[in-house]
Subunit: 335 residues, 4 copies
């Protein structure tokens, strides 16, 4: 394999811009060779900013370019399955943003196509690459808590997404909670056998009118009997709240939220620390870089990516079960 | 009313001893006038230790003594209803340890008897009197979190009780979780309309054989739509873990665990703080005193006690629903 | 020795009231038998509050009362030496508030008189009895930091005392810093061989006009070469700031400030904890009780009190050297 | 000025390698055009690693190359003055590692030469660019503590440098404490008028034999009367300890140490956090980048660098006074 990996970026939106900048600035082993987006001006603006020369209107042009080794799929969710299949057929290594797709059969199609083509499929569960969560997993797997009994995940956004996004993205269950479900599987290394969710609309009635919930508590049971509770909210006024606790027979491990600085101001009211980072891209800056480094490494070495299509499949199945549990007010066994 | 309140203590066990010492040492407005316990040597030992002169074999003798103003019922749970009724008929003010009773009709009988007799009935939900939880409630009611969206309660014992106690006490649901259910009602001032529990036996199979669970996650929905998650474990190796978080539209309030000292040791492995206090009586020392001060104040003033029979009734109904939810793997609506 | 120790309290001011309440409420092995204060109405008020029957105008009456076993000297500093000597001659065990006296020869007179009379002399260095500082000492002596290299003491009052008190009490050096000097000796178990102080008037010019400083940094060198830095301020707007850090070849131990509750409020500005306790009597409540328990125990057992006249002597010598260092802008060797 | 700034790096040692990687990886506006080091193999190795094509044996070749805009001087301290002067004469913009020089007249020569040549002189006080310290300064200057009364700086290395380095570098005073002195000036924006130091050899007698101390407490008085205490140690077993506290009439600001992760492990002994980062290059990674970004920005804009020769001059004068204070056991007035 040649020295530098040439990557075609599909989608010049927010997350595409992050990935492009990361590749260009921080990963010398790869470079963005072309950016494709039907919104050509967005593509051009981004290309200028990150010093990419080729701007394309259609992802097809990327698939057809034999000099391109791999694709980053950062377009909207409903385009993912088709693009993954096309990329696989063209022999490209695939990194696809999450959710890979909203429906199980589409995800299975993605997995099948990449498997058949013998190419990688890595899904953008960036949190696995966060140093704190990676460290927690290492501690759990190293025995720091003994047998896991209980995982507690708090995952609260600083503010709700636009209503259009709520409607098209899969909503709280498949777009937001899916990260936490993946985290639960990642930390424990176990499979989920039961899902129970209680949810509601507390943040903004418009979210309810859009057919979604904005606050949820989900309980998972793993195949070894351990339990996990996930609480989600679409609005935490103090910032992006991302905390995990793993409790077991031998103790407990936790992470703190990350703030912009490690400074404390003590006035007459008491000591105040900076709030958690507000923006998910600030919070997971290191993770975004690390996941692309892992992808590039997998492409170079031909090994398996650290988080693949099967992980997306499983997390989506669980997220869908959570929604059903909420709808039916009962525990859903995972088949 | 005379200056000093004469109290008859029924039950010279562990919690009875705590209450006796608290009254004798720290509440000059009251005194233990007599201790009754069929295990007469236990009663005598305690009486010596806390300088009480009268030791009785039967609680009936306390009920018959007209000089006694109030009773502290610290005998085993199954004796509570009969004793409450007797005390009420004898015109005594009643402080009864939790659980008031295991069955709803018994609790209703206690409430009825004390109401008919015009005497107080205070139930030993000591945690309401803990300075940290009282402060959290004050903050929540003062608007510090805006509208409540989510309450998170972690409540883990340092070690399981004896199996005999597991069998007779009401178990994790009615003996242990009942405190957390009461805390949820106390902090929010709302009523619970739905209960969902997922539980299991992870700490010790013998607890399962005794018909109980040792690990549980419970989700409550309040009548204003807010949610609450409670996680319970019978064994936290690092101590008695009692944490609460209330999250809402305007922010979040939390408490830390309390430790024996506020000291930090930093060696090559990093800074270590002392573990949470291990023993519930150390953790809630202040709360035990404050709840008896409140009782004595209510007796003096003839006002309503801060936590009464109706609170016990409601918490018990919810605890029973939690057990049913676990058994039936579905959400239980509270009628 | 009879069962209950009868104590005569001299001085019905603020600290006298604390000690009286502590004895009467919390130390069943002793009782305040009489209170003497020339301000007879203050004595009477206090006596009523803590249920003491005898009120006297002159401490002499306490000294002459053979039924009294011990005295608590809580009158103003300049009266201490004469009272200690009188009490010793009368065969009373002596607890004297700090500073024992402002001048070295007076302190030596106190030590001599109590030694000659064979009675105890305990000085009110209450901080030694604080659970956190006692724990730090235990850790240091147990080897948690290896060889001590550096002690850092921060000691800041929430607000300056009245100017009259500044003038008569010994000021920042002999009244305030003396506690920190004693803490340095207590924690390390070493003697001070050199003192260097830099100080100034930053809080209030009136303190300077009264002949004192209000902000100071003092460096001590111990006889084993270890160093200690003490920083003092007369006004910390956030409360009573009492922090200690001991650093050595094997690590570091520290204490945190204590707050009224262990609660955290997180709004948009970030997480805020309650400020340190403001009032020294709240901060050192446990310590005040523990030091009197230690005194009563020493009286009962006839052993040496845990902090005696020699400690007062040494701390005063060092405090005076600190003042001289400041005046002469040089390091003062302790003879 | 052309688009990319061409930089000549002098010195391929540890800090030179850090700066080279930073420029090449993270600062697209500049590039390392050549590396000069008489140890040619070191230069070649580094050049390969950071993709620099030209390797030179003598810094003179850099000075003579007209295509080079600026120099980074990372050679040993004693070579700095000559190189600064040569670079200035050649019209290069100058970034020089600290200490700029060990002697005052040499520093003045550097300042004079760069001033005469009209080129920049930035000195590598990297800590000013640390986000936490920059934030503290911003808070202090924004009034968060009111008038500054007291600055406390703790600065402890994880382990002593090699003895050769101790001997040649300026030692604890001029090589290590100089950073803390600069921090004191940076945070307060005030000048130092008095210095008092107490120091000793506690970590390793060999350091004493090499003519240096390894533990020191220094007190500064600023021109507005505020005080500052700096404590230094050459060995903190728990990592690189870099804490600052600024206390004033309105409150206090502090920073925490930074650790590799924000994770907590709670076992039976209590909660443990990761130790402070051990290696100064990890701790100040962001700061190293930010200071070079500032330099590049100053070169581009022709403005003054944020930390210049006058700062080096002042910090060195104070460090020398600290050593004299230690030698003479007295306060040294600056001025």
């Amino acid at each position: 394999m040649k020295k530098t990996i040439d990557i075609g970026l599909v989608g010049a939106g927010r997350i595409g811009a992050v990935h492009a900048a990361t590749i260009q600035r921080h990963i010398p082993e790869a470079r963005i060779a072309a950016i494709a987006d039907p919104r050509i001006s967005a593509a051009t603006t981004l290309a200028d900013r990150v010093a990419v020369e080729r701007v394309l209107e259609s992802p097809r042009q990327i698939m057809e370019d034999e000099s391109i080794d791999a694709v980053l799929l950062c377009s909207s969710t409903e385009t993912h399955p088709e693009l993954v299949v096309e990329a696989a057929r063209a022999g490209k290594q695939v990194f696809c943003e999450k959710p890979l797709a909203l429906e199980i059969d589409e995800i299975e199609r993605c997995i099948g196509a990449t498997r058949d083509a013998g190419v990688l499929l890595q899904v953008g569960f960036n949190r696995r690459f966060d140093p704190d969560f990676a460290r927690l997993r290492e501690l759990v797997h190293g025995g720091a808590v003994g047998e896991v009994h209980l995982v507690r995940i708090t995952s609260r956004d600083p503010e709700p997404p636009p209503l259009d996004y709520v409607r098209s993205s899969g909503g709280l269950f498949v777009d937001m909670m899916i990260h936490d479900i993946d985290m639960a599987r990642f930390l424990t290394g176990r499979e989920v056998v039961e899902v129970t969710t209680t949810a509601g609309v507390l943040v903004d009635p418009a979210i309810g009118e859009a057919g979604d919930v904005d606050t949820a508590v989900t309980t998972l049971r793993f195949d070894d009997g351990a339990l996990c509770t996930i609480d989600n909210s679409r609005r935490a006024v103090y910032g992006y709240d991302q905390r995990v606790e793993v409790f077991g027979s031998g103790g407990m491990v936790q992470n703190r939220n990350r703030a912009a600085t490690a400074t404390i101001v003590t006035g007459p009211e008491g000591p105040t620390e900076p709030p958690p980072l507000h923006f998910f891209m600030d919070r997971y800056l290191d993770a975004y870089r690390a996941q692309l480094e892992a992808f590039v490494l997998a492409v170079q070495g031909g090994g398996a990516p650290p988080v693949g299509g099967e992980d997306a499949l499983e997390a989506t199945r669980i997220a869908q079960a959570a929604r059903r549990s909420h709808d039916e007010a009962r525990t859903i066994p995972m088949g």
